[in-house]
Point group: T
Chain length 145, copies 12
């Protein structure tokens, strides 16, 4: 039915292993596994990717152009300053969904600015790992039309 | 399985009838109908409410305390200045999900401030009417735990 | 020749009775009477409305859609924060003229911001009750074309 | 000896019932009862009023002109944005005392701005329910002169 | 019945000839002609003046002191920075009406600041060439009293 | 019943003698006398202290630790910049009430910032000399519990 | 002993004739006369110049290079925005003294910014016409060394 | 092949004669001479113009409409505040290139704002007199297409 | 003819001994000596005072009320934050002249804010020790009237 | 005659292939080819380099020290936040020219801040691919001296 | 080997006795004792000084000029506003090390501004009492060279 | 006794070789050598790491979790914007000391913001290479407890 690329930004490789009081105990592998299960159930190809390197994420997004139907991205720290990722999203032209585990409105003020959000379809934030599931649902609903 | 209250803020009663180039042609009745269908399918009681009056919304939220499991709210214009609604959400103590039809990061700058968001679980924005569906899914997933 | 709706915002019902050193001694009834006289002289239907409730003004504007040719509104205090009224004006699509009795540039700084002005045709401010007369003239000239 | 009107803003109807760790367990009824007792002891007529509707508070203030000697108001959330209530206080011309239960200087930054304060006699904040008692004392001392 | 001086600021000599999609096709000569007709019809002496030089406008305003009853000025670009013109208006003491063709609230943010407005009677903006006509009406109504 | 220390900040020694149009004609001695009378009537020990020296006020507050039940302080000019006094209040740990004679919200903007307020119980401002009386009442009510 | 050029900025030609409650009744001619008398008494050549045109002031300053020992300038309104005059002062290299009749710290906030001051020797402000006399004294003392 | 107008703003007539440590020793005449040589070599008509008067520059730009193919302008000090020149450029509709001798990013902060830049094709800054040569090359390359 | 009090703020006791490249080699004693000579020559009583203690300066100003005709003050570092000194000047009611040795507009940005200036007659800054002489002349000219 | 290094920042590898309505259809290869042709024509060695990785660009700049005469860099998104690249330019000490394809003054506000510009010779922006050619000309003119 | 002066600012005399959860239980005497031991071990003369009075600290710093090799200062609250202490440090010319017990970056925002830091050698902050030891080491290392 | 990881950020590999007037002539190798000597003398394992790549530093910090007792980091340019490094420090949970060679309070304003500092123990800045030695001492003192 389509192809979805899920990109996890810096430090998300530690998910579920550190700062569990904030981010919970679900690991990134478990999240990816759940997403893959859901995707295959509806006949969607799903690829996951994590990097702590801005340049690698930029190039992953560039590579998605013409190959992927939707990008789901949790830019993590890059959300707040990586104009390079913003430009990559705008340039690649693949419809993109932004997801955050925590409610960024309820944290430090600098986390409330998103340089990437204006070039995405929309954001889902605050729902923990469920946010990834909901992002995938958002993509599925659009692919189904 | 639980009860969900959906609150629509000011001017949303015109949805689907005016400014369709921005908000699409889906009407509020259609959205509510869809939500009710999905809710009944999973055994959830769902109530919908629209008001252009800040005070009425405040009191609707107050009344939900002890009666409702989750509130889904699109505060519309009130998002940006109604501290009364913010205080009502904090005071009622009912877990609340904020939803916006359009991507507020891609519109006027004043629409990027949300006084209500810090006291909610999270936000879903930019997905049009799908946002309501996703918000309900978020509530369902939490109710199921 | 057409229909004009005149909306007076909060506290304008006290006009001419209190703070006369600022706002003068003309009452709202006298203003409305003068407007009606001028309107009937040129064959225009004119309705006046005053409310201290934001929600009522929002709904009055919504109701004007498809029924009224021009709205003349003095949002008073709501000028500075009621995004709900702004959205109602944008949503109703009725061409709207904003009027202020006093010169808001010569008062407190917070009165110099108008959240409603960007979605109106234009503003007339500082001319006291004459401002209503001039607003009506502005509407008449446009209706005559 | 005179008449005092006590106005309670939005969400104060929940006082003592919710968020008791912040606002304590005294209910609004108990506060009102205490105020009435103190007032009758010194021969003052005292009326209390609570509303979650900005427009109703505006009109209550307007109605106090010429009838009430002092207004004691806890505008709650409206403190921070209701220019309509500010204008009503300025317009009605009844000397007004502003009271807050919590110390607004020790909370979120947006709670430190009061749009109503500049048109009042003064403020009493941070003393919990005692603040109402002290506000009434302030009025009594002025009435006695 | 009195004398009115109409001052047009920089680049208004191009009116109706360039950027017609913003400012329309009415030329400055046509506007002046219409104003003169209206003025003579009510027995008012009317002088028009256009300059791209700040200093010339300052001196025109100075010269109006004691000779002119009302000034109608469209300061155009000077609106936003010419404190010299502001001081000239304040110094000359001739009641002054500010007019803008476009709705400055709906344009670039820097156009929303007016350094001249605080020393004028009021402003009329957004009505295109009609704004001049309305400004003259405002002056006429005051001259008639 | 307890001990209260009243601290008057810089220039308050001139109270009642200069700028009487702003601060009234009551002298600091009269205020202190009234406070002492009220305190002794309810069995409270009350000490008053005035200084124009920040360091002396800091040390007076330090000395109150373990000796005084409540501090009532009018930091006057120091309100707006003396972080040293703020730190002394926080460090001494004696519950402190801040009082201002005038309504600081209705004066110059810099007077609306209080660096000391966040570490106090609350503030009473705008009631002139009555403010001291009300502050003492606030302390008495707390001591009585 | 040297040569001094005194430059008066826009609207100063009206000095002593308008807004006398702010600027007093001394005219510019009287000020110039007094300066000339003082200058000739100490053997200094003194030239005075007034203009409402920024460009003329720029060129007067340019022309002073190599010919004049000190410039005394009251830039009036240009103080706050004329970077062209600032650059002319810096470029001409003639030591320059800035003078203001009124105390600009006690007026509107925008008058407290001086774009010219950083490239002058110093400023004398608030002393009315005496300020010119003091500026000349400042120049004389430097010429005498 | 076309016609180019080169406009030099205020104080540039002093170029090469004063502040040589910043701007170098090349005079404006030498720059103009070099530009004319280069222009004639490629068959372009080139006119140069310098003025210290904002109004003259506005009118020079206005006059270029329909007559000139490209404007090269160094607005100098006017860069930072002359909205009149900005409006003239936008109004005239002649493609315009902005040039600065020094690197304005490495100087005072106020020099980093350009009110004219948004309505030009682009800017060349920091290359000293070479900047004019490069600006002409930019125009030539466009004329050649 | 009158009495003048000269107040030198913190660190001015080091004048002429340290940082001579900024402040020159004239010592405070020499400045005071010169002022006394000039004062006695015109029959004025002159007192000088230096303190590094804000409280002492506050009290010196308080003591001047009713005893001194003019205060000349160089608040030095206190210029930028001592609201206590500002209040003392306003409270004492003695006309006050502010003087700075260096041109504060040409130094660090925080030195360009003066909290004391709004309550003085005027300021003289940038002329080094001459500034004291000029300040005294300003006082003399006023005393002579 | 010398050596020039041309560095292209993130997403410029997509040039000419995506967002052609903004950036045109010229590819990076074509730009590099043109630059090489021009360079070899004048006997300059020219190397080109593109990277989406900030660290690689930092190291490329470091490596240029002592080897390259001029760097031409289009930092793209890094322009606005990469202080690391700024420090590399300052540290390497190779004279650097900054180039932008689009006019950054006419785009989003965040694109108007350049953290790299203050340490470069100058910038050329808005001329599309011509900007590279002009940058090379700027380097050539300097190499020729 | 040299002489070091250690200055402790306001409220540090309470160290170890109050707010121990923030500042720990080490007293100022213990810190001073430790510093003296370390100093005598390496042959350095060390003097300690604590004051709650800004003026005393200013004068202590002034007195150190020519007598002391290094000052170690914890300005405490004065860090954030005492320009008088800053000027004293700059004026005395004794190399100065700034130390803070807590990490000021992790506390209230106003604690992140240091007016004294720019005129010191450097800062050591966040290490509790160890910070004094490290500051002394920094001085020792420099004295040893 | 423990293990310490020293991380050097971008451009520090050039230390001692370029911009020696700012950073001195000590090379990074020499600093590392000195640190290793001191560490081995007290029985501490010390590893050093330099990278110009943000991602590599993020991963180095991640890898230190559970393996290293203290991190000493000079984030250099990344100090001011790398929220990814900040998050890595917070996530890894290894106590971290921030060090800067120069006094960042005495340089450009943007260097005074540290996004990493709030999640570290403390900072040592301004002491040049000594800062590393002092940071190690800070770690040693903590390891010894």
């Amino acid at each position: 039915m389509g192809k979805v690329l899920v990109i996890h930004g810096p430090n998300l490789n530690l998910l579920g292993m550190r700062e569990v009081e904030i981010y919970g105990t679900t690991t990134l592998d478990e999240i990816n596994e759940n997403l893959r299960n859901r995707a295959s159930a509806v006949g969607i190809e799903l690829e996951t990717f994590q990097s702590n390197h801005e340049g690698e994420i930029v190039e992953k997004i560039q590579g998605a152009a013409g190959d992927v139907d939707y990008i789901i991205i949790n830019p993590a720290a890059f959300t707040h300053y990586s104009i390079a990722i913003r430009d990559a999203i705008a340039s690649a032209g693949v419809p993109t969904i932004e997801i955050h585990l925590s409610n960024i409105y309820a944290r430090e003020e600098f986390r409330q600015e998103s340089v990437t959000a204006p070039v995405t379809i929309g954001q889902i934030q605050g729902f923990g790992p469920d946010g990834y599931y909901l992002s995938l649902e958002a993509a599925i609903r659009r692919l189904k039309r």
